[in-house]
Each structure stands twice: as C-alpha cells, then as structure tokens.
Amino acid sequence: MTLTKEASATTAVARRSRPKLRRGPAADRDSRRRSRRGLTHWIVLALLALATLLSLFPFFLAAINAIKTAEDYTAHGPLALPRSFDLSAITDFWQNVDYTNKLINSVLISGGVAIFGTVISLFNAFALGIGRIKARRALLVLLLLATTIPQEALIYPLYYMANETGLYDTKLVVVIISSVLSSAFGTYLLASVLSSFPKEILEAARMDGASRWQVLRLVVVPVIWPTLTVLMTFFFIWTWNDFFLPLIMLTSNENQTASVALGSLQGQYTSSPTSLAAASLMGILPAVAFFLIFQRTLTRGAVAGAVK
C-alpha cells in the first residue's frame, strides 16, 4: 500500500512541478536582453506554426475537394477553392458500402489490436528489459523478424492456417495477426525504455516485498504510461489504415473495414477524387479522435521525481 501512495504522490508532485522557467541569478543578469528574448519566442512559435500549417496543407486540399460537386471539380480543378457545397458524394458512398458497419468493424479491430498489442509488448518488454533474461539480444533480433518480413511473405501460410482453423474471414484472426506483428515493434520500444529504468525504484519495491506482478502493475506501468499510450495510439492508427491484411483475410462485407471500403472508390480504371477525399477524411476522424484523446496523457506523469 505504501508503494502505491508513494508512487502516485511522487507523480503528482512531478506533474505539478513541471515549471514555467524559474530564473536564477545567472538569468537575472540577462534581464536586459529580455525584450529581445521575448521576440525570439514569438519568432520560433511563428516558424513552427508555419511548418505545421504547411504540413497540414494536403489535408486542406483534401477537405476543399471533399465538399465540391463533381461539376465544380471538373470546371475548376482540384486546386481551386470550392464554389459549391455538396455532401451527396459522401452520403451515397456511406449508404453504398454501409460505412457505419465498416467503421464499427475498424474500431473493434483497431481497438483490439491497440490493447492486445500493447499488453503483449508490455509483458515481453518486462521480461526482456527488466528481467534481463539471458540471450535477450538474440530474442530481440528474433522478434524483429516480425517487422522485417514483408507481409505478403507471411500471408499465404497464414491464409492456409486460417482456412484450416475456421478463422478465415473473422475479425479475430485479423486482431491476432496484427497484435503479434505490432507487438514486435512495441516490445522493442518498451524493452529499450525499460532497460534504462531506474534500478533503485525496482530494488526499493523488491525490498518492500512486492511480487513481480505488483512491480509491473504499480511501479513500471505508471512510470512508462506515456510511452504505453504512444504505443496504443500507434497501434490503433496503423491497424486502422491497414489495407492489406483485411483485404486478404476478410472476405465478407459485413466483416470488412473502413480502409478497404475506401478501395471501392478506386476501380481498375475509374476513381472519384472528390468522393475519395470526402470518404477518407471521414474515415480518419476516429483515428484522429483517438490520437487527440490520448495525447493529453502524453505529457502528464513525469517520471523523474519518483527517483526521490
């Protein structure tokens, strides 16, 4: 019990003490340069804001074309600002592919992978990074096999295995495969972070008689929570946009995902750019929402105070 209180207390302290810069005696000497410094802040901010806006320009292009009518697009091209407002392409697409169903499938699958993949990575990394199992280097390399092998090399064997076990065309098989493949990266990231985990905290916990499971749950997880949320966010987004695995493994439309449904807008010879822009912007909203929710936890819970 003491452990928990301390852990949460120190994290709370650390959170509160993330300071706005406190000026010390040396800095006071530079107070004469304060006005110039103030300008530098704003210049840096402006430059970064500009870079971010440029980075978002493709999204802007997609957005303005998503609401155009086909005639507007034809007459003025993709770069012109919209002179029309028409969401019929979106509603048609939504109905034609039953997009609600596809979004639900995508949320289930991506959510499942986010959770499972992170849990598997956590367990692996706990053993490798903190447990320091012998031959951990070799195990890490073996694990990386999962990220280096091209998916198409694995897909035929996986297809036959799924066929035999009756898991072909189920969401479960996609979750399992994606979780395992994602956990390779997750394990590597977490193991690297956990290798430099402050040993004193672990020793202190062990001294207090904590079991390994308690150490994992009460000490390690709170401290690396930011990285865990990064992992979950990545897994969710990568799985959300994964096209290949659902394409091959999910045949029936009722199990299909949003990313594949987008493929219906690109036939062999024809594609509808305005519909594609509209549908995909709608399609990424859940992923963006996921990211925005989780990024709030990314800066909280600074760890270092726990060392005290």
Partner: protein, 432 residues
C-alpha cells in the same frame, strides 16, 4: 489507486474484446435445407452494368421466391489480389464477376477453381449472344486465353477510341480524320494555335492504351494470335507493329501533340483536361463514356476510332465465373441467363453501357446508341483487338512504366522495346 483501476479497466476491456469479436466474426453459414444464392460484383453503384444486374436481381428474387438471395458489392482490388484465395476457400460465392486475363481468370481456371461452363454456354445460347466477345472467358489447360474451355461469360463489352470536342473542332476548322495523315494534320492544326491536342496521361494507364491502339492499326489477326499465344519471343524489329507504335508515340510527344509532361499526370488529370475543354481530343475507354455524358455540359462531344485501323482495342467485359466450390450452380446459371436476356441488355444500353446484343431499335439514349453500334460492328467483324498487357502477368506494370519514360523522352523506342522484350520473353520461354 488510480493506476490500478486504470490498468484493471484496460485488462477487463482487453478480455471482453475477443469475446465480442468472436461473436461478431462468425462467417455466414446458411441454415439447413434453405436454398441460398450468393452473388458478388464490383461494378460501381449506379453504372450501366450495375443498373442492369440489380434489375436482374429483382427478377431473380421474383422467379425464385424460396431462395435467400445474398448480394455483396466487392472492391476490385480484393478480387484482383485475393481472388484465388477466396475461390479456394469455403466462403466462395455461387457467382461472381471476375477480372478477365491470364493472370486472373486464366490462372484460377488452370488450377481447377472455376467450373467449366462450355455446356451451359451452348445449351443456353450464351455463345450466340456474346459472339466473338466470348474469347475473354475462354482458356486452355495452361490458363492462356484462347481456344479452350469456357470458364467465364461476359455480359457486356468495352472498347477504346478517340473522343473529341466537336465545338473546338468546328472553331478551328478541323474535320474528323479518316486516315492517320489526317489525324496528324488535325493535331498540327491545333498545335499551331498553341493548343496541345491530346489529353493524355503517361503516368497512368491511358498512354498504354494509346500505344496498343497504334499497334493494332498496323497489325493483323495473325500477329495478334502469335502475340497472345506467346508463340515466339517478342519481335522488336522495326517491322513489328509494337515498335512502330512506340516510334509514333515518341514522335507525337516530341512534336508536342501529346504533352511530354503527361508522364507526371494521373488518368483523372487527363480526363479533367478533356472535360474542361483544355484539350480537344482524348483516347479513352468506354468506361469513361458515362462520366463524359454526365459531366460535360459545356460542349458537344463525339467519337471516332483509330483512323484507318481494322483492329481496335476492346473486348468482352468482365466475366461471370462460377466457382468449383459453389453450392447453387443452377441458380448461378439462371442469373447469368437473366443478365444476358434482351431486357437487361437493352437496359444496359439505354443506361450508356455496351450490351453484347441489344436491340438497336430499343435504345433511345444517343450515347448508348453510339457505343453499342460501334461495339457490335467491331464484334461482328472480329476486330476486337483485346489489350496489349494480357499475354504476360504483370506486363501492365512493365508497359506502363516504360511508356512513361518513352513519352517523357528519356527513353528511345528501341530501349522501350528491349524492356518489353525482357519481360515478355522471360514468360514466353517457359511456355511450350
């Protein structure tokens, strides 16, 4: 405390998810004794084929009230990449639209995944309706398109031709060309006024269709049969129709008749140039005709085929195939019947699609009249020249990227032919 509950909550969720997924993930299995009919296609919602087939579906339901009809609209990419795997699994439908070609239909046919339809084709009269378009469903034991068993039935057709802006032609005093010389003169007339005549895209498939159209202009049926049959290594000499086509493309590009910068354009960009009146001529497939009909409101447009050419790129459309593992094959044949009958064929033609056997007097839509007439003429005179990328799997990719550099001017026609020959011969040598 907070951390513990958060972790516990996550783990509980993690445990619940697979249960939910397993429940949702059950693949459709029909009840015992209940007859079902499952059909898939990937035509865009509302296009002529889709319109006709939806109508057929309604008729089918009325004719078979005891059958549970299950239709799914698929994604083209899925049938292209995973088609073989689907046909090999227990989830295969009773009937599906399939991509024609050696690498797709031919490959799965040679592996025994498709039902041989030869008997049904003759007994139900599909061969008479399809005529020479039936080639796209006919494959030999090695999976090569040509004389052999019928594994697929097309119910519509397609071809590629020039589409032109009548208003711009009139404004510039240009007539519809009937010979290649006249075509180049027409190009020149526009070029001299500062207008790039051809809306093309060498960064995408349109340029290779133009290349094939030019090849067919210099080819005959013998050359065609040899080319598709992989009879011998690719002829790269200057006598070869393909070489001559490459030279013409390179020439046109250097003259500015087609934009060398089109190597950086997508197909959609080319159509946009034509639609907006920027370029007076484009070389497009009939799958674009409906789009033109709907979106071009500013000017009159028309069609002409490659001048002076007998053969023309074109073929039967995508084919209906019946998987070997299908449960309800008779129902599948009934459905094919419906898509091939006069009502559906006329419907397709009136929607702007190309039927194989529409009654000309029943077509009221002018665009429909135009394309159907052209197609039936081509089919009757056996002038459907298919497409140049069909003989060899992945040839599409090779031709595309090399046409791109040919048009951009960074590769000569000789180099172009060498690249094509490498890929062609590699497969040709294994076929004996």
């Amino acid at each position: 405390m907070i951390m513990r509950t958060r972790l516990c909550r996550s783990l509980a969720l993690a445990a619940a998810v697979p249960l939910v997924l397993a429940a949702c993930g059950a693949n459709g299995a029909s009840g015992d004794g209940e007859k079902t009919f499952t059909v898939w296609w990937y035509e865009d919602a509302g296009n002529p084929q889709d319109a006709a087939w939806q109508d057929a579906l309604e008729e089918f339901k009325a004719a078979h009230p005891d059958v549970k009809v299950h239709f799914e609209r698929k994604v083209w990419q899925q049938i292209q990449d995973a088609g073989a795997m689907i046909l090999n699994s227990n989830d295969a439908p009773d009937l599906l639209e399939y991509n024609k070609g050696n690498a797709t239909a031919g490959a799965v046919a040679s592996k025994g995944l498709l039902t041989d339809l030869s008997d049904e084709v003759s007994s139900r009269g599909w061969d008479e309706i399809a005529g020479s378009a039936l080639t796209v469903g006919s494959y030999d034991s090695a999976g090569l398109m040509g004389p052999g068993k019928i594994y697929g039935v097309p119910s519509y057709g397609e071809y590629v031709g020039f589409y032109y802006n009548k208003d711009m032609f009139a404004a510039n005093g240009v007539q519809v060309p009937t010979t290649m010389d006249e075509l180049e003169a027409a190009f020149d007339a526009f070029k001299s006024k500062g207008i790039t005549p051809l809306a093309e895209s060498a960064g995408d498939y349109p340029a290779q269709h133009l290349l094939w159209g030019l090849s067919l202009a210099n080819a005959d049926q013998d050359w065609l049969k040899g080319y598709f049959g992989l009879a011998e290594p690719l002829d790269t000499s200057s006598d070869s129709p393909l070489t001559q086509a490459a030279e013409t493309m390179a020439d046109w590009s250097s003259q500015g008749y087609l934009d060398p910068k089109s190597s950086g354009l997508k197909a959609e960009d080319a159509w946009a140039q034509f639609r907006s009146g920027q370029a007076p001529i484009t070389y497009a497939g009939t799958w674009m005709v409906n789009d033109f009909k709907d979106t071009i409101t500013d000017f009159e447009w028309g069609q002409f085929l490659m001048p002076g050419s007998g053969l023309n790129p074109g073929s039967g459309g995508n084919i209906w195939v019946v998987p070997t593992k299908a449960d309800s094959k008779d129902l599948a044949y009934d459905f094919i019947d419906l898509t091939m009958d006069q009502t559906r064929q006329d419907l397709m033609a009136n929607a702007g699609g190309i039927a194989l056997d529409a009654d000309p007097s029943a077509i009221s839509d002018p665009t429909g009249k135009m394309v159907n007439q052209t197609f039936s003429e081509l089919a009757e005179s056996d002038d459907l020249g298919l497409y140049g990328d069909w003989p060899v799997p992945n040839f599409y990719q090779v031709i595309q990227s090399n046409t791109q550099t040919l048009v951009a001017g960074s590769q000569t026609p000789e180099q172009f032919m060498e690249q094509l020959a490498t890929a062609y011969d590699q497969v040709q040598s294994t076929v004996q």
